[in-house]
Symmetry: C2
């Protein structure tokens, strides 16, 4: 996360004072400039999608997200790591080539502190029967 990115995103989408300047953030529990939680979501999505595309995985979009939690502030200079795991998978009853997975995503910073987590529902193309 760079300072410029944090402020650019906030100006456009989330212009609360603590997302715009250190001075305003110092008056709040954030202490110093903190990224919009929606910015952290967007950055996390960028990592996930680039990983999916690289692996030629076939995401078909998502009906939604549960238990999105902004656990700790994200500050300029933080280096975030995204971990994801599939927690369950359900083949579609009506469309055998499609399934739904639920994934748990955890984002942590350079100190190993979790800053965000969520569970998402993702529709995926299934591998043809018998393929590797």
């Amino acid at each position: 996360m760079t300072r410029e990115e944090v402020v650019d995103f906030a100006r456009k989408y989330d212009p609360q004072p603590f997302h715009l300047s250190d001075e305003a953030a110092a008056k709040t529990h954030f202490g110093r400039l903190a990224a919009s939680g929606w910015h952290t979501c967007a950055m996390t999505m960028a990592v996930i999608v680039r990983h999916l595309l690289k692996d030629e995985q076939a995401g078909l979009g998502s009906p939604g997200v549960d238990e999105l939690r902004w656990l700790k502030p994200v500050h300029p200079g933080d280096r975030l790591t995204v971990r994801g795991m599939v927690v369950d998978k359900t083949p579609s009853r009506s469309k055998p080539h499609i399934g739904t997975i639920r994934t748990r995503t955890i984002v942590s910073n350079q100190d190993g502190v979790d800053v965000m987590s969520f569970t998402s529902i993702v529709m995926m193309l299934r591998r043809p029967e018998g393929s590797a």
Copy 2:
């Protein structure tokens, strides 16, 4: 939502094919170019924050969001309306000047169709006792 905004956001944060071009989206259930759900979240936040700032409401940040649902695709040219209601409020036990509200947000398009909904948890400054 303009086409340029949809594609700009997707290039940066969610470069799945159906968020980048009508041609790719035509091969999916989206049918035509659809905005990233995270883009709809960010645009909704922009509306909410500008409303909060106008009314001098004192949001202190959010611990998270529940039941975020992307109900229908959002397409370029769509005009979105944001409705929000407070569903409950809880004063802080330890800090009497702070409270937590839960709000339900529903975003609908120009046809009155709900395209997104979520429940968010927001920390707020409370009015001093006895003030209007």
